[in-house]
Symmetry: C2
Subunit: 236 residues, 2 copies
DNA sequence: GCCGAACCGTAACGTACGGTACGGCAAGCC
DNA sequence: GGCTTGCCGTACCGTACGTTACGGTTCGGC
């Protein structure tokens, strides 16, 4: 590229073609993104291109060639992490109250573990920092959308079939799956995420998470469990 | 936990004595902080000292003299806003189910209005951005603590007496006021705050807020309303 | 061996911004 | 008047960091 603004359009190959997140990456690129991710967790949003290059043992020129600019690197990093978190959907076949309860507790427990993890906190922090008002001309505030899409909305997408299977089998009673999901979400997460994001110490032990998951599940069943079956509250 | 605003003497160095109520501020200083607040809402965290000075029609030198440094200005701004938000506590006397329900709905509605306001979102964004890992040598992460103290914890402090009055009068049944509060918090806020912080459009109309407040209140009463009227067998 | 592509390491550039210094001006006080 | 105080406006400095440029090295293909 001696002289001419040959590829000034700075987003040809960097963009990471929307769907196959993580698919079109070479091993080396994944390693670089892992380094960036680690740095993001350690240093927060003020990680520098130089630091990423040094940590990943690659040159800044390579970073810019692969990811376009700092935002591109950040976006790719967030998407890369998101692509690693994909969880297997739960099959809602032959559902009885016990297995439904177990599924809900599992979802609650997994979700609490996710939102209290260092990685999630760091990612949410950077995404929130980038979601300022009218930032950039057009799209580019992808970070918040990506995090949301792979966090809260992915959870809803996986949980709703379970809820609807429960309704189908007469175990649950609700009018709108979306509303029911949000109730469950609120009962599980409560104030945990905002407190952690704001820097509140709040160590969630394995035991505490298990207890909270059971409590949230029982509360949800108390609200939306079908009245026809047994639903005794149990110690939690 | 988090008893009072744990001030490091770092920020006391420069003006802003540890009155977090914004009492010791001159009118001019309040005007400057209002300008900073407006700018914070408009521009997010990347507001500059120069921009604040220009907006407030004051010199940068004055900003530094009054607030020490950028963080001091940010902290003072957050505290200034917090001091304006103080809400009158609800008196929980002669409580019957109707007035309890009304109180809870009021709390829920107020809280939803707060967390969906531009100001709250901007403040939480900047506080979260400042709550990174091991930022600075000492204290300095005050922002998150301040926001938490004047948001979620202030809400708890005002709501708990109402809950306990409800229990006293046999209207509510719960073991731990803190846990009960967190349940109510979760039922009210659900995913609203995190979605807004991450940039999700999510217009909350007055009507929607009212509906959500009523729903959350009914759900809370379903979970913690006394089943047998004002003569429950439980003694503590 | 030669060539080109990809990449590393690092120096260099440009700029934005936090922080400081200085001149000017108005008000109060002697 | 002259001195002091407090503030505005602005020029200035230092640095951090995003971004670019360039020389050097490795590696695959012929």
């Amino acid at each position: 590229m001696t002289g001419g603004p040959a590829f000034r359009e700075k987003s040809v190959l960097h963009i990471v073609p929307d769907i196959d997140t993580g698919e079109a990456l070479t091993e080396r690129q994944k390693a670089v993104l892992d380094a960036a991710l680690r740095l993001l967790v350690e240093e927060g949003d003020q990680l520098t291109m130089t630091a990423v290059a040094r940590r990943a043992s690659c040159s800044k020129e390579t970073l810019y060639k692969w990811f376009g600019d700092r935002d591109g690197l950040l976006t790719a990093t967030v998407q890369w992490q998101a692509s690693k978190v994909r969880v297997a959907p739960v099959d809602g076949k032959g559902l009885d109250l016990a297995s439904l309860t177990a599924s809900l507790e599992r979802f609650a427990s997994d979700w609490l573990k996710v939102i209290s993890s260092d990685t999630s906190i760091a990612l949410n922090r950077v995404a929130i920092g980038h979601a300022g008002p009218i930032r950039r001309k057009e799209g580019k505030d992808n970070l918040g959308a990506v995090v949301l899409e792979n966090g809260r909305f992915a959870l809803a997408k996986r949980l709703k079939p379970v809820l609807e299977a429960g309704r189908q089998n007469g175990l649950l009673d609700f009018a709108d799956a979306e509303t029911a999901f949000r109730t469950f979400f609120g009962l599980v997460a409560r104030d945990v995420q905002i407190r952690l994001l704001l820097g509140d110490r709040l160590e969630l032990t394995e035991a505490a998470i298990g207890g909270d998951a059971a409590r949230a599940t029982q509360q949800f069943l108390a609200l939306h469990g079908a009245k026809t079956g047994p639903q005794g509250p149990r110690a939690g």
